[in-house]
Assembly symmetry: none
Homo-oligomer: 219 residues x 2
């Protein structure tokens, strides 16, 4: 949960707390564990929450609305933004949540596991829900995915020049005959368009083409 | 990965295999582990794959295109549907992938962790990527859209051959000196990886390289 930017952990009737093994396993995130709220009942833990969602892999016989993790994240965020806390309830590793625990929940999150082997462990379920929450937070913050190539992209003009140089070169070496159908050039252009080279890469490609022309001219 | 409906695991140079502890920990999914392919190198493992995506939390000098898990899932699915295998590459728990391992990759998947604590463990990273894949599979299961048109992708083997031909050619024409730092080749490889040529495009590129070599040799 810490990797996904979350820090408010509440534990209900933990078997042992603090627990040396748990602290050791939380390496790097032990601050979250150390600051956990401890409650004796689920109701205590969610008392101040507006939206409470449960997670369960046994959704067959329950009368709660079933929602997917992404939808759950949106609802939790909306609730939190409205000024009321929101919570996701996870059950113990093997037993899962009891029906009595679910009474405080607005809906049940179903992680779309394969029916043949739906038994996610607790850590996996927490990871997925927190991941969807992180995505929802980032999307709503207007964050854009970084196009990671450091250099600015080649301009359309530069790409046009590359086409021309390439066409001249492959004509020169006899790979391409301008009289023939222009399917080859169209395919090459499609490749370049997909490539979206940056300035460094554009310079490399121009350099290779220049060297290639020179090498072919010397014959 | 089994909970998300995936079964094809490949291990590269595992420290011990089979490993009693690993088998015990895989409880319920030990069949996936037992059927794992074992390879000595990353290239061996991805040899027949069209789309190869890496996961990494480290910033690198030469940035690969960075994509989000959901986009990665869509690309992997498209590649697999076109008839060529697709793969996601995960590094060892602490060290992560080496630069040399990334040379076979088309892009790097960045899980949107919080910058303050971005260190997902291996299991968490695998869970998130597999979850997005499962979502993509389920979403596309109902729709007739997304069936790949066009030729199957070039394989990693074919791309390796292209690198070798290109390196030989640009050495031949004096654009590249193998003695010099290998940054240029890495940049070119990154471009090819991003391009993900299909079989037709692969044939065009090979054809141009063959013609170029011939033209330079005649001088």
């Amino acid at each position: 949960m810490k990797t996904m930017g979350m820090s408010q952990l509440a534990l209900v009737a933990p078997r042992g707390y603090p627990c040396a093994e748990a602290t050791a396993r939380a390496s790097g995130a032990d601050d979250v564990l150390a600051r956990a709220e401890i409650h004796t009942t689920v109701l205590d833990a969610v008392r101040n929450c507006g939206c409470v969602l449960a997670t369960s892999s046994r959704t067959r016989n329950i009368p709660w609305p079933i929602i997917r993790p992404a939808q759950a994240a949106a609802e939790l965020l909306r609730s939190a933004r409205s000024g009321t806390s929101a919570a996701v309830l996870f059950g113990p590793e093997h037993a899962g949540l009891k029906n009595s625990d679910m009474e405080f929940c607005n809906a049940v999150i179903e992680i779309p596991a394969t029916p043949a082997f739906p038994s996610l462990n607790l850590a996996a379920a927490v990871q997925i829900v927190c991941y969807e929450l992180r995505k929802a937070v980032m999307e709503s913050a207007g964050s854009t995915v970084g196009q990671a190539t450091g250099a600015p992209g080649a301009t359309a003009d530069q790409i046009q020049l590359l086409y021309q140089l390439l066409e001249r070169y492959i004509s020169q070496i006899g790979y391409y005959h301008p009289g023939k159908p222009r399917l080859l050039m169209r395919r090459l252009k499609r490749m370049f368009n997909r490539l979206q080279p940056d300035q460094n890469e554009y310079n490399i490609l121009r350099g290779i083409l220049a060297a290639a022309e020179k090498a072919a001219r010397k014959k």
